[in-house]
């Protein structure tokens, strides 16, 4: 694959670095190893990995919205909840296989996002943030009225639904897994695929023309519009897309939990606040940041969550300290030290008939 866009008159535009090429190879290997994980490690580890991967997918989605499109939403729990409820509805009321229901759940979340975007995109900045929060609350309250799925009480997935899921019997037959372990493995693979595809997709998007337009809209919407960028269309597309992906993640998470209630599925803390925390600790506006952030979050939770309120206080404290001393997150710090870019998106202009001594220029 060529790494440059050829431009006439001796100019070169580079986005890829040597490091990023090496990293691409490493990550491919990593994905392969992770794919084999259910055969290599205990169920406990698989469950931890599932948690990490689903949170990572949520974080990448939120990062795409906030870090790249400038849409600081605090209402992403709406889509987690909608996806989860759609899954339960489809499985319990329509008798669909959960695996088939998952993409439909994403679709449902996306459909919900259409009217939502209409309201939300009239708002800017903090108004947008609060607006999305309120919309998510409306979602929670509406689902709490859905008596068929337990209203405010919530409901559980029937055991058979997950037991007899597509592919479970295959796994049982081929690898002699227990049903619950097979269900775990299946959910894990879905989460892995989702996280990997999300990252690949986000990266691809950022390197595309649309990604450039998105960055422009984030930085200055008026100017972007004046230069022919269809800001509204771009933002809506990203919003719908993240709704779709977030909905799928939500469905997956609640397939694994097997129990849902409006308060849990539409939880601001669990599905948005922690996700924001992950992204910001890691480094917003980078693909590397959320990956780093989710690992830190997981380690923290594993090590300290038994300390109850002290753990939460420490978490809050860490959020504050990060924002004050490393506003660009951990990856920002690393980047400043080392200049690493694992997912470079900058288009750097090189070569051409340039004076060689221009500092900061293409050859400087």
């Amino acid at each position: 694959m060529t790494t440059e866009i050829e431009a006439p008159a001796g100019w070169r535009v580079e986005t890829r670095t040597r490091l990023s090429t090496i990293f691409a190879v490493i990550s491919l290997v990593l994905v392969l190893v992770l794919t084999a994980a259910p055969f290599l490690v205990s169920r406990g580890v698989i469950q931890d990995l599932f948690f990490i991967l689903t949170m990572l997918a949520l974080a990448q989605n939120w990062n795409l919205l906030a870090g790249y499109a400038g849409l600081i939403s605090v209402g992403q729990q709406l889509f987690v909840g909608c996806g989860a409820y759609a899954l339960f509805g489809l499985v319990i009321l329509a008798g669909l296989d959960p695996i088939l229901a998952i993409p439909l759940a994403g679709l449902f979340a996306m459909i919900i996002a259409v009217p939502t975007s209409f309201v939300a995109f009239r708002l800017y900045g903090p108004y947008f943030a609060i607006g999305t929060w309120v919309i998510a609350e409306v979602g929670r309250l509406l689902f709490a009225q859905w008596k068929m799925l337990g209203g405010g009480t919530g409901t559980s997935l029937p055991r058979e639904a997950t037991r007899e899921m597509l592919g479970i019997s295959l796994l049982q037959d081929w690898f002699g897994m227990r049903a619950s372990a097979a269900a775990d493995a299946l959910a894990y693979w879905l989460a892995l695929a989702l996280a990997a595809l999300t990252i690949a997709f986000v990266y691809k998007l950022l390197r595309s023309k649309q990604g450039l337009g998105l960055a422009a809209v984030r930085d200055n919407e008026t100017a972007a519009r004046a230069l022919g960028v269809d800001a509204r269309k771009l933002k809506t597309a990203i919003y719908l897309l993240t709704a779709f992906l977030t909905g799928i993640v939500g469905a997956l998470i609640y397939l694994q939990k097997a129990r849902i209630s409006p308060d849990a599925a539409f939880s601001l803390t669990d599905w948005t606040a922690y996700v924001v925390f992950i992204v910001v600790i890691g480094g917003i506006g980078t693909i590397e940041g959320p990956i780093l952030g989710v690992i830190i979050f997981f380690l923290l939770q594993n090590a300290f969550s038994n300390y109850g309120s002290w753990y939460l206080m420490a978490l809050g404290g860490l959020a504050i300290v990060t924002m004050l001393f490393a506003p660009r997150g951990l990856w920002g710090l690393i980047c400043d030290r080392t200049g690493w870019e694992l997912f470079p998106v900058r288009r750097l202009l090189k070569g051409g008939p340039l004076r060689q001594d221009d500092k900061g220029g293409p050859n400087g």
Binding site: G150, G151, G152, T153, S156, L157, P158, R259, A264, G308
Partner: protein, 397 residues
């Protein structure tokens, strides 16, 4: 054998429901000391649900998969018991649950709560507590003690408890109708509502003498103050959940006097621990001594959970085999600190017989003590005549 039997325990120890988990540490410390003295080797892995259903499901899974426990114990409100029980059922992990009326626990875990035909019993999840039929009997028993117009106002929120209480099939409405009470139910309000004037107006219009419901403490305070400001003067107010803890009653100031509530356990309950032989009174006293806090109702049930655990594990053919343990649970017949516990009773509807065991319930009324503070006086015991009465129901001022 020197391998410890591992018990997993989940309860809300922090967050809004933390009052329920207050006695956990005390109970578990005492349990470990007792079993050690008896030469039994038990280990308890305690997890905090942080009052959050998402977290409850997560820690349950951790306990099962990472800690490889032998038996799950879970306590306090459907927000914690239901996700944990559901997880156990999926993971084929035997589980004993308590401190949630059985309907929200059982029906709340069914795929379609609206369709009784689809309800199925569980293989691994068992629950002991009382049910709505009991609380209805207790409440109406109390209401019968004084002269009223039999008009009842109901305050049921849209949460696990509220939906069950207000349910048209298993909840208050059908029974009250049968007993000749007229119920004004304005609908399921959302928890943490700031204004109850709609309900108050409806109750005033209906001229209700009796108020009932299952409320969280802040909502009760808001409602009660507003009711007084707007001149709603019922003769009786029997409210579930909000009035469990003395602190919340004290928070009402003098207005808490003569409010009535359900009572699941008091130091005067005539039961003994099967583990230690202590009476309810001694356990409550020991708690107050150890923590400096007044006794609360969850103490007895937390204690009973561990009694059951020991009993079940003794009888289980193989403590490492989930199915064997679940079988042992099903066959339990034990006199605990909260009364006799036995699953499979024919007093329950057929669908619930397998997984539900019932403990006795009585009714009580909070009375201002002369020196300040409140006493909980048992005023109704028809379901459990062996619990001594402390007086008769008094009308609100």
């Amino acid at each position: 054998k020197d391998v410890a039997i591992k018990l997993g325990y989940v309860s809300p120890q922090t967050g809004p429901l933390a009052a329920f988990g207050e006695a956990d540490k005390f109970v578990i410390d005492a349990f470990l000391a007792t079993t050690k003295g008896m030469g039994l080797n038990y280990e308890v892995v305690v997890k905090d649900s942080q009052s959050n259903p998402n977290r409850a499901a997560e820690v349950a899974k951790e306990l099962i998969v990472d800690n490889e426990i032998n038996l799950m114990l879970v306590s306090s409100t459907p927000e914690t018991t239901n996700p944990v029980s559901t997880t156990c059922e999926a993971e084929e992990m035997p589980c004993i649950s308590t401190v949630a009326p059985w309907q929200p626990w059982f029906i709340g875990q069914q795929g379609n709560p609206g369709d009784p035909a689809s309800w199925k019993p569980f293989n691994y999840a068992y629950h002991f507590f009382w049910g709505l039929e009991d609380i209805i009997a207790v409440f109406t028993g109390m209401w019968g003690q004084i002269e009223t117009n039999k008009k009842v106002g109901g305050l049921f929120p849209n949460d696990g408890d509220g939906n069950a209480w207000g349910d048209k099939v298993v909840g208050f409405p059908p029974v009250l109708e049968k007993l000749g009470y007229g119920l004004t139910d304005t609908g399921r309000y959302q928890n943490l509502t700031d204004d109850f004037s709609a309900q108050i107006n409806a109750f005033k219009q209906a001229g209700t003498d009796i108020l009932t419901g299952v409320m969280i403490p802040p909502d009760l305070t808001t409602f009660w103050n507003q009711a007084k400001q707007q001149g709603l003067k019922p003769k009786i107010a029997s409210i579930g959940k909000a009035l469990l803890f003395p602190q919340t009653v004290e928070a009402l100031g003098d207005a808490g006097h003569n409010l009535s509530t359900e009572v699941w356990w008091t130091p005067s309950h005539p039961f003994k621990s099967s583990l230690t032989g202590e009476t309810a009174a001694t356990v409550a006293e020991a708690f107050t001594k150890a923590t400096g806090r007044p006794w609360t109702q969850p103490i007895g049930f937390a204690h009973a959970l561990f009694e059951l655990a020991v009993d079940v594990m003794k009888r289980a053919e193989d403590v490492g085999d989930g199915d064997a343990v679940a079988k042992a649970i099903g066959k339990t017949k034990l006199d605990t600190l909260v009364g006799p516990v036995a699953w499979g009773s024919d007093k329950l509807p057929p669908f619930a017989q397998k997984n539900i065991a019932k403990t006795p319930l009585v009714g009580g009324q909070w009375r201002l003590k002369s020196g300040g503070g409140y006493d909980l006086v048992v005023v109704e015991n028809s379901l459990a005549p062996n619990v001594p009465l402390g007086g008769k129901l008094e009308a609100l001022a």
